[in-house]
Symmetry: none
Subunit: 169 residues, 2 copies
DNA sequence: ACAAAAATCACACTTTAGTATGAGGGCAAT
DNA sequence: ATTGCCCTCATACTAAAGTGTGATTTTTGT
């Protein structure tokens, strides 16, 4: 868009510096160079006179730095374990975990547990029988044995106990 | 028990060494001393010839150690914090909150809710009657009306629905 | 292969749960 | 005061739940 690009602008600036005050710049640069040279010579003299001390100092600095670096690199960070207690509400069956040791303790068979689950959902013996493709009498037998094993007398009691012991959601 | 004690035995051994082969021992000891001296001189010579390198090495070791010490002393200990989430399972009925709008929607009376709660705990109608000091027939009436209002057919169903709707813990 | 446990079913029987109907008293709102 | 709901109780009945006994088949562990 701009007819004069950045490279052109840069070139013009350099030219202005070198053309408008050429003699002054050269003089200044020479002076600076001389001063720099003198400084350098002075430094060399100092270095020459105190070469050993400077060498030792440099070694000391370098190895101190090495020590610091090594320590930072190699030390094991102290591990601080913060245990955050996360409250998990067992309000629904989304994260239900079966209490297997308790199930084993009650001695319920797989089928009995199945019947228990359906019972807890409010199904009648007849409905459970239909769902499991067995006869009503079979369900009654399961229910009876289940009550005996769980040491309860009624289905509502069985359901309450099963929920309490996390046998069912 | 043994008439000759341990101290006596030791003394006899020393005497045997110094008396039976005195010349040999002195000769051996002199030789060893000479060898040790030569070794020491050699070491001195090495140190003298490489004094500068050894000095530098010592400086390096000392300042590395200094760096390490400084770092350990002055830096804050690195602490890596590990956050571990520990799941705490809470018995939800401890913070049970009655779903009052739902209770109003079901239209259950105070007494009916009372009966429902006892039903959920596994009590029979007879037991509920005893606990509430009323007749079995009264409980049956409550239960029947309760079922009608909740649109269920069995107590297990009523309990399941009531729990689901947070009418009971 | 064999014993134990589990699963299935049946029949007879008892108990509990649930329904239908009616009825009396209490209490609050209109 | 009348209406409607709640709580109580009773009787009669039906349906469902639960018990006891016995039997057969399948599964499972040793």
């Amino acid at each position: 868009m701009n007819p004069i690009g950045y490279s052109q602008l840069f070139y013009m600036t350099i030219r202005a510096l070198f053309s408008k005050n050429r003699i002054g710049i050269v003089y200044g640069a020479s002076l600076a160079l001389l001063l720099f040279l003198l400084r350098w010579l002075e430094l060399r003299f100092i270095i020459f006179n105190h070469a050993f001390e400077i060498y030792i100092g440099a070694i000391a600095i370098i190895f101190t730095a090495l020590g610091i670096w090594l320590t930072l690199k190699l030390t094991n960070p102290k591990i601080k374990t913060v245990i955050v207690e996360k409250e998990v509400y067992l309000n629904n069956n989304l994260h239900f975990i079966l209490n297997e040791p308790e199930l084993a303790k009650q001695g319920l068979s797989k089928r009995e547990l199945e019947v228990l689950q359906l019972m807890a959902e409010g199904f009648s013996n007849e409905e459970i029988a239909t769902r499991l493709f067995v006869s009503l009498n079979t369900i009654k037998t399961h229910v009876s044995k289940l009550f005996e094993k769980m040491d309860v007398k009624r289905r509502t009691q069985a359901v309450e106990k099963a929920k309490r012991l996390s046998l069912i959601p």
